[in-house]
Amino acid sequence: MTCDGLSYSTQEMMAVAAARVLRDGTSCFVGIGLPSTAANLARRIHAPHLALIYESGAVGARPEHLPLSIGDGVLAETAEAVISVPEVFNYWLQPGRIDIGFLGAAQIDRFANINTTVIGDYAEPKVRLPGAGGAPEIAASCREVFVVVSQNTRTFVEQLDFVTSVGHGTGPGARATLGLRGAGPTKVITDLGVLCPDPDTGELVLTEVHPGVDIDDVRAATGWEVAVAADLRTTPAPSDVELGMLRQLENATGKPSDA
């Protein structure tokens, strides 16, 4: 894909879109892969005071290059504070102290509930996925959650095989009934566009498409009849500054072969 001079990939568009939604002066609970890329990109461009908390215990980490794992040495070396893993979850995540949680997904449904546990039956799985990790409590406790996931009919499904992390549950009021105190997923950022929950129904609505993507591309990649916002916008393409910085960050990493 090309635009504004430099050509870029859909993965790059997704990373840039994810970086843009991170506001300066907030705190962000960062998982590895795209969330870490997005958070560090934001920190370099428009959010120098974004506090990054890695579940490995690095609080206020300022890595110069992207770590391969959430536990690379560069995180502890550049952190304001290093704390134990129980402390991360108990003192920092659980009380709702962290503004933004980033999550990935193997499956996501129309209410932004997430499966990262298993494809197929739990007892006789077709694909055994890594499991919950920090996700259920990130989804529960961060003030809001951004989900970053490639959009296709394997990931955007009518029915999850397993609910690992709760988005908007079965719709309005579900989170409150469950005692989940954060706002839940407020944005789902994909390689095709951005979806946000409808405040009345809790269901995801397509609010932005990335340059070159049209609504039918999104419909074809979604396992349910996706709602589309009346004022659907087109995401601005990555700027030269964004792309340049993103590539500089990634080139300085032992890049993962897959996430």
């Binding site: 794992s69 979850f89 546990t117 990790g133 259920p136 549950g169």
Partner: protein, 267 residues
């Protein structure tokens, strides 16, 4: 009181068939050499406990040491799947693997309860997820003051905890720094413990961010330089990201894994 011994002696004394064994280290300081020693000694029917069963548990599971895994995230961090773990769960190879799975918050709190001599821990967790339907060790408890319902998880008290650290002194006091994970909790929760260290020194110079485990609270300390590889020991080594990436190919099929076992563990 900690005994300074070889890794072989430590594993022989502390780990037995059927034990519940926790190897901890959150990305950093993973006791990988101790895991290989367990494979080498042919231990069987272990219940393996670990928040993030990465390469070290992929090896133990592929070698047939484990009957059960208690965990919260089973992947090759930054790379992808753990193929031996998946083969055991999806196909029961080489032996079926029972799973008891939690979230990180749940596992961390289970260790905290274990280290604290409490039978259970309370957390805000699991609400609305399918985890309680597949994991019997997730229940609810009511706050006696507010009436709120919260999640309860039972303490983890492994028979043995094994961790890696930067160094120990000759009295067996252990010092670790950098990302400290859940190691202190795992060691204090366990009946027995093994700590492998990069080096044994005369004196533990204080270090920023260091945790010290007093020797009188430990079991066995073994000097195993590089014992965390391909994980790392801050101040001694770097994470060998290339090795994590190469594990993907080694572990992807049974033959290449068996060849690795023969050449790297049993040779």
């Amino acid at each position: 009181m900690a005994e300074l011994v070889s890794l072989g002696e430590a594993v022989q004394e502390a780990v037995h068939d059927g034990d519940t064994v926790a190897l901890e280290g959150f990305t950093h300081l993973i006791p990988v050499a101790a895991g290989r020693e367990i494979i080498r000694r042919g231990l069987r029917d272990l219940t393996l406990v670990r928040m993030t069963p990465d390469i070290v548990y992929d090896q133990l599971i592929g070698a047939g040491c484990a009957r059960k895994l208690v965990f919260s995230w089973g992947g090759n961090p930054g790379v992808g799947s753990l193929h031996r773990f998946r083969d055991a769960v999806e196909n029961g190879w080489p032996v079926p693997l029972e799973l008891e799975e939690h979230s990180h918050a749940g596992m961390a709190n289970r260790y905290v309860a274990g280290a604290s001599g409490l039978p259970f821990a309370v957390l805000r967790g699991y609400a609305g997820t399918d985890l309680p339907s597949v994991t019997s060790t997730i229940k609810q408890v009511t706050c006696p003051f507010t009436g709120e319902q919260l999640a309860a998880v039972p303490a983890l008290n492994p028979d043995v905890a094994i961790v890696h650290a930067q160094r120990a002194d000759r009295s067996g006091n252990v010092q670790l720094w950098g990302l400290i994970g859940v190691q202190k909790e795992a060691v204090l929760a366990a009946s027995r413990s093994i700590v492998t260290v990069e080096e044994v020194v005369d004196e533990l110079t204080p270090m920023p961010g260091a945790v010290v485990l007093p020797g009188w609270a430990l079991g066995y300390v073994a000097e195993v330089p590089g014992g965390a590889h391909p994980s790392y020991a801050q101040g001694y080594s770097e994470r060998d990201n290339a090795h994590y990436q190469s594990w993907d190919a080694i572990s992807r099929d049974r033959e290449s894994f068996d060849a690795w076992l023969r050449q790297k563990v049993f040779a």
